[in-house]
């Protein structure tokens, strides 16, 4: 029996990537100095800034893996990886383009029609079109195949298409987005083949029949939404790929979705601020900072190695699940660790408490979104041959 390991291996970053990092790092340092944004935590969900997004587009840091013929940069997932890391660790406002950049673009590229690619990819690459995701439903969370949103064939003014009806939840930034992908049942649930009969639709969120209601988070912020689709008409040319391919589509990008740097770095700026506070003796020096810094360093390596494997078209599902379980736990542990150290305070008092309170309030979501850690441990167990 060969040694059991779910390790993604080690890959060494080459100078071309490091150079790209330094360009992004210099840009964000200027942006912070010029007041373009204030560093925060969990900014890929909670900090929405269309103008900042467009600026990234102008600099060639959006649509990075989209080919140039569709208005993108034609670069690699590894180049996108380092740009993403540099933006996340300083807590830059990246939420507006996050979903389009991470999964909508790559999905359109892989499954979309030529017309769909032309219609959306150039605008995504400029930061002009903002996308959301419509997978979860009130009764469908971890068990995504149980979605009840239904699409039925219809014809309007001679145009054939689908009438989509149902409710989607946890649509991040849905109230600000232009469109989303909605996963719906296009044929009735067959208990023996639960993953069949699902399809994805590209839904214009300004279309008639779409109603968006806020879901207010426990800290009082509005990031999530409920999206009601009341017989929204979707023409055939806004079906993503083939009818019936929905399950394959939503699971195909999981390696990228689950091992991305955002799965460990949501609270990195808080850790950096804590190190700073220890340097200025605002907080007592404690070895937890070293322990967590080491862990983040190992997680960076794992995430980078998974991206390298995926770029080389190797399967890394189990390693990605491992990386996400460890990463999301650690980024939450950072919040709790600082809370154990910091004196009581109010968010308005100083930068440390602003970041700390936001991190504590966002933390429960870290190990839920993108596949709960319980689901992911099941994925790991399957990878180990236990299921």
């Amino acid at each position: 029996m060969p040694p059991v390991s779910v390790s993604p291996g080690v890959a060494i970053e080459q100078p071309a990537l490091t150079q790209l990092r330094l360009e992004v790092r210099a840009f964000v340092a200027d942006a912070i100095r010029d007041g373009l944004f204030v560093p925060h935590v969990d900014t890929w969900l909670t900090r929405w800034d269309r103008e900042f997004t467009r600026e990234l587009g102008r600099r060639g840091w959006l649509g990075m893996v989209i080919p140039t013929e569709y208005g993108g940069q034609g670069r690699t997932f590894l180049e996108r990886f380092v740009v993403t890391e540099e933006l996340l660790v300083v807590g830059a406002p990246v939420a507006a383009h996050w979903v389009a950049e991470r999964q909508i673009g790559p999905s359109l590229l892989r499954f979309g029609t030529e017309e769909q690619k032309q219609a959306f990819l150039p605008a995504i690459s400029r930061g002009d079109v903002i996308f959301g995701i419509g997978m979860s439903e009130p009764d469908s969370g971890s068990d995504l195949a149980s979605v009840r949103t239904k699409a039925e064939p219809d014809v309007v003014d001679g145009v054939s298409g689908w009438r989509v009806t149902g409710t989607k939840v946890w649509t991040s930034g849905g109230h600000e987005a232009d469109a989303f992908f909605a996963l719906a049942r296009t044929s009735p649930l067959d208990p023996a083949h639960r993953h069949d009969g699902l399809s994805q639709f590209i839904v214009d969120l300004h279309a008639p029949g779409v109603e968006i209601r806020p879901i207010i988070s426990m800290g009082g912020d509005h990031h999530f939404n409920e999206v009601h689709l009341d017989g929204v008409f979707i023409p055939d040319n806004r079906v993503l790929g083939q009818i019936g391919d929905g399950w394959m589509q939503v699971t195909s990008e999981l390696g990228f979705e689950r091992s991305g740097p955002e799965r460990a770095l949501s609270t990195f700026h808080l850790l950096a601020e804590t190190a700073e506070a220890m340097q200025t003796q605002t907080l007592p020096t404690d070895t937890g900072v070293g322990r967590l810094t080491a862990r983040i360093s190992a997680l960076h390596q794992m995430s980078f190695a998974v991206s390298t494997a995926l770029q080389g078209h190797q399967n890394a599902d189990t390693a990605a699940a491992v990386t996400k379980v460890l990463g999301t736990t650690t980024e939450g542990d950072i919040a709790d660790y600082v809370d154990l150290l910091a004196p009581p305070g109010r968010a308005a008092d100083d930068a440390l408490h602003t970041l700390l309170h936001a991190a504590i309030l966002q933390r429960p979501g870290f190990t839920l979104r993108g596949g709960t850690n319980e689901i992911l441990r099941g994925v790991i167990a399957r990878g180990l041959g236990m299921r």
Binding site: M1, P2, S5, S7, G9, Q14, G290, M302, A381
Partner: protein, 357 residues
């Protein structure tokens, strides 16, 4: 896609040891493990295995060829240590091949290849917990004479050995030197002390990765075979989650140690980021052992707590090793000092490169 045509080697280069050599070592130690009889309370040095490793050039795998070593890199060395630890091979590979040989090279002293171990004696010339001390033909001491660090190659006949055992039951002896013998040692660069500590800690981390991965194997076999309530216990989610966490922490430990090895190999240990990488490896691997040992014993049930079962050959050494060459707490302190000095802007470069530049 454009991305398919890009030459990835300009962006990222995967690091791996020579697969043929790794395969040979894996086969060797798997065969050794499978032929072994039930474990004893105390680890007994295996002279015949040592002879076999000697013939294959594995006892001084990473030592320089000029001094009789095999001249391989730590990438191959890493594969050797993980494979040997996974078989609980009772031989002083780290002490003899990775540390004593290196110290002698630093001191410019000859190495006849006879079995050696290493010691860090105090001012009076006493060193505790010297692994395999009783089996060594000579003990290589790294000693501070009050002004400088010296390396002395002291023959067994000139030391007094008091036998003992560590937590893992390994021979861990007290070695008493004549101060004059230590004072006659060759002066080495002052940095050798910290470099020795880093090599020792990284070697222990590598061994712990090997033990962790074997513990995972043992647990997997057990939970897939052991049936309760009419099914293998591995079908229960609670058990799956215990095992998933063993796998996850093992992967994290491996990522941290392999990164440190890669950084060391790439620069022949000269990269200024090596100290951070080694400290991170020691910290991650040390903390991982807490979860791995606990969960492995929990999943294995009472049988895993017995002397006859193989599991303690993995778990006891993991706990014994993580405190050698610096405790986990000390490595966390080292990392903390680096992180605090790095501050807000420097922390991320530290994570990436081990320096704040």
């Amino acid at each position: 896609m454009t991305t398919d045509t890009t030459d990835l080697s300009t962006l990222a280069v995967p690091v791996a040891a020579d697969p043929d050599l790794v395969g040979m070592m894996t086969d060797l130690f798997t065969a050794y493990r499978e032929a072994r009889t039930a474990p004893d309370q105390f680890v007994v040095f295996d002279e015949s295995l040592w002879g076999q490793l000697e013939e294959l050039g594995l006892t001084r795998l990473t030592a320089a060829t000029e001094s009789g070593g095999s001249g391989a890199s730590w990438l191959e060395g890493a594969a050797l240590l993980t494979a040997a630890a996974g078989a609980a091979a009772p031989v002083p590979l780290v002490e003899h091949g990775f540390l004593a040989a290196w110290l002698l090279e630093q001191a410019g002293l000859p190495n006849d290849g006879a079995l050696r171990t290493v010691a860090l004696p105090d001012a009076q010339g006493q060193a505790n917990s010297v692994l395999y001390g009783r089996h060594a033909a000579a003990v290589v001491a790294l000693w501070h004479d009050g002004a400088q660090w010296r390396v002395a190659d002291v023959p067994a006949a000139r030391v007094t050995i008091t036998e003992g055992h560590n937590l893992a039951g390994e021979p861990a002896d007290t070695v008493s030197f004549e101060v004059a013998d230590l004072g006659a040692g060759a002066v080495v660069r002052p940095e050798v002390r910290d470099e020795f500590q880093r090599r020792g800690a990284l070697a222990r981390s590598l061994q712990n990765v090997g033990s962790a991965e074997r513990a995972l194997e043992l647990v997997l076999t057990h939970v897939n075979e052991r049936a309760q309530f009419g099914r293998p216990i591995g079908k229960f989610q609670a058990v799956q989650h215990l095992v998933a966490d063993i796998a996850a922490e093992s992967a994290l430990a491996r990522a941290a140690t392999d990164t440190a090895v890669a950084r060391a190999v790439e620069s022949d240990w000269a990269d200024p980021g090596v100290p951070f990488a080694v400290a991170a490896a020691a910290s991650c691997t040390g903390h991982a052992a807490s979860v791995i040992v606990r969960n492995a014993h929990q999943a294995m049930g009472a049988i895993g707590t017995t002397l006859e079962h193989e599991l303690h050959l993995m778990t006891k050494p993991m706990l014994a090793r993580r405190g050698e060459f610096g405790t986990v707490h000390e490595w966390d302190e080292t990392l903390t000092a680096m992180a605090v000095a790095a501050g807000r802007e420097g922390l991320w470069p530290l994570v990436l490169t081990g320096t704040t530049a």
